[in-house]
Subunit: 326 residues, 3 copies
């Protein structure tokens, strides 16, 4: 048990999270993971509360994961998606949020293609003093905290499934490979993994990983242009999704060359520490950032675990912010 108490009402980014917050979350997620293994996977914790998914940027897996997490806490859910939206009628983002707020939303899960939108809405909720919470489900190239937290849970759970805690990762070497520049997943992971005391090594071509990026957390990040150097003795490898549009933008020469230089395969894992495992946030481009063979090898890939832990982490986040005010 932690002596510190949970006191955060919005989940906007991991930049300012403290160690005890990670530990309370991991402990909570661990108990929900146990709930998910039962025949009846529901708890009545948030019955009667309304959780609204405001996904201005569309997404299948993240929305479904949040929706399922909400249902398993017995909350009611509303889904807003841009295709059926008032946005085409000229309504502002904040006005859309205010409408769902006025309907009785207790927690807003917000994804937007521009950085800062969830933060702006959270600030407005605080100004109004209405006690409504905002959870950032991905904002531009800024943060995607629930993804980094499920990655963290996956790693800690692997090291000690009884008592997952952030301290377990101290001194571990983690390689993050690919399009770091455009990745909110990478940014959020860097915040949590540096707090955990990990040794972080990034690999990617200069167009997707500028030299300047080492200043993101000065002194904590090493940049590599050779994949093998980043992987040397790594405990874990995080691959990132390569958006194929990057080729059209002339940021990579071809998918094939990208795979040859930065694609993770069973062979490239040979550079890592024995037993090193691979994470990927999904959806996967097989044969681009990761080999198809590796995706399918559950002794080496944690992809499926990440998805399962995603529901548990989102239940834990919704539970902690949803029960804070009562």
């Amino acid at each position: 048990m932690n002596e510190n108490k949970w006191n955060r009402s919005h989940i906007l980014g991991l930049v300012d999270w403290q160690e005890f917050e990670y530990d309370i979350l991991l402990e909570t997620a661990s108990s929900f993971r146990e709930v998910l293994s039962r025949a009846t996977k529901k708890v009545p914790a948030l019955q009667g509360q309304v959780i609204t998914n405001l996904f201005f940027e569309s997404s299948t897996r993240t929305r479904s994961s949040f929706e399922l997490a909400a249902k398993r806490l017995s909350a009611d859910t509303l889904n807003f998606s841009p295709s059926t939206s008032s946005l085409s009628k000229g309504e502002t983002i904040l006005d859309t949020a205010m409408t769902y707020l006025a309907m009785g939303t207790d927690i807003m899960v917000i994804r937007h293609q521009h950085a800062g939108v969830p933060q702006a809405i959270a600030a407005e909720m605080d100004r109004l003093g209405n006690g409504v919470s905002v959870l950032n489900a991905g904002d531009g190239q800024h943060e995607h905290p629930s993804q980094a937290l499920l990655d963290l849970f996956t790693l800690c759970n692997l090291l000690d499934s009884e008592t997952p805690r952030i301290g377990l990762l101290s001194g571990k070497k983690i390689a993050i490979v690919g399009d770091i520049l455009h990745s909110r997943v990478a940014r959020s992971n860097i915040w949590s993994l540096t707090k955990a005391g990990c040794d972080i090594h990034l690999a990617g071509p200069p167009t997707l990983l500028p030299e300047l990026f080492s200043q993101f957390v000065p002194g904590k990040i090493t940049i590599h242009r050779e994949l093998a150097n980043a992987l040397a003795d790594a405990d874990f490898v995080m691959t990132l999704r390569l958006q194929k549009e990057r080729m059209g933008e002339q940021l990579i020469p071809s998918l094939r060359e990208y795979h040859q230089q930065f694609g993770i395969t069973r062979e490239s894992l040979a550079h890592c520490k024995k037993g090193a495992k691979v994470l990927h946030p999904g959806p996967v481009n097989r044969g681009v950032e990761i080999s198809s063979e590796l995706v399918d090898d559950s002794s080496l890939s944690l992809i499926s675990d990440q998805v399962t832990n995603g529901v548990a982490i989102r239940m834990a986040l919704l539970y902690l912010i949803g029960t804070l005010k009562h």
Copy 2:
């Protein structure tokens, strides 16, 4: 308590509503508004009933409001939207409705771009004698009863939140401003507000408010071409959304000129009675039919209240028609 009993199974339009019906509805909505302020915002009233949203014309806010109202009455909901519909496969509207009926729908909430569709489906349900109710969520430029009822509830609730009743509005002066011609919201509001004994003043350019419109309820409506005249001594101002397409149709010269002549601002409210408040059905075009400043001023704008009351009114409507047959 009312001596008259609720006896209406469809909500198609307000043209023929009687005073006691408004009062039963307002009383019911008032009790549901109290439910919405509790931590657990659900009641089991319609458990096991199926409410189907048949939105042939897409809508975010109205569909979400009905969906949430249904969930809070513990009903099961189905959503039909045209993008994933059988309509592209050549099915008639009535056949689509009959399909959802055969699946076990108890209440159909119907929105359609053409006037008369909910009425036609309700007539067919009556002919079949199946006890299924139809609720019009907006048909063409005809009626949008639940919107006018939430407006009515918002006004009456402001005047007496303990016992909101239609009689409270007797003799009040109400200005309705903007595109009256194309507005089903305005039409439904005119029915309820004339029944309430309000003094109704309409303002708008001739293209959006033809002189002939005064015959809509002869002797009850005054038409103004100068906004200031319509607002003079008004107790409440209802602004209407201006669809920007009206410019392309050459019905207005420009959005800017429209705003100068008929946009409601803090300054224009100076013409009204002291303490006059503004309503808007949403979504808002800030800086067109209403100034941005006014939208954000909760001491003058009732917009947020309208959205909240919308859930309560829709709960009340679904409850009254859903419990009628038992």
Copy 3:
């Protein structure tokens, strides 16, 4: 009661179904049909289970029917549709399925435009030994078992609503009319109706019903080019939806000629046995494969019954596979 026990975990097609399986299903559906006639139409049978609708090919009525069936068994539902999908991001079908699996899906209801997709996913679930069930909601031109099962239930229920069983159809003459070639509904129906011992007569133009089709179940099928011959003394007539694209593909000369030759009307029913009734899987093209008058005549058409029975059959299928493992 049946002595044999239900032992099938996936519903992929009817090609290998045994008589006792049909009978257990019909008995179960019959009891759920009774549930649907109550005021509270829910049972807690699958509470806490997750049923995911993976509709790679979009569909209104089938998805709604499955969704409602799942809700009435108190399961939680997730909906995946291609418009908001990761498929556009290059994810494979199997990876999409694996994602929903990892989230905790217990039963996957899968529709896909290509034959074999549900089977491939079911095989992967079996290989993984995770106990997850797959229900085929239509794959290409291959099978659509739940539609054929609701047709079977509709017929048997008509003959004996107390104890519907497949044996009731032995020796009955059934005409199936229209675009047999492209119809997964027809294929699944042929499997169940031949197992029932029906006498099956197909009618359609050579482009939509090649001579070779008689080899589909050798010796059990008679092909007719004249509608009247197929209908002669028939007990039941199944019409199939004609996709209007078939005209563009030059498979039919015109919709009008098609209707004249193969459209089912009140007149064409005169060829059948007295009291013969018509089925149609919907959505209907009025005046093409069936006359509008016939659709609306509930003394001759079973269309509405089919939709109602569809919810009961899908509840029965989900119940049988969902309770198998416990």
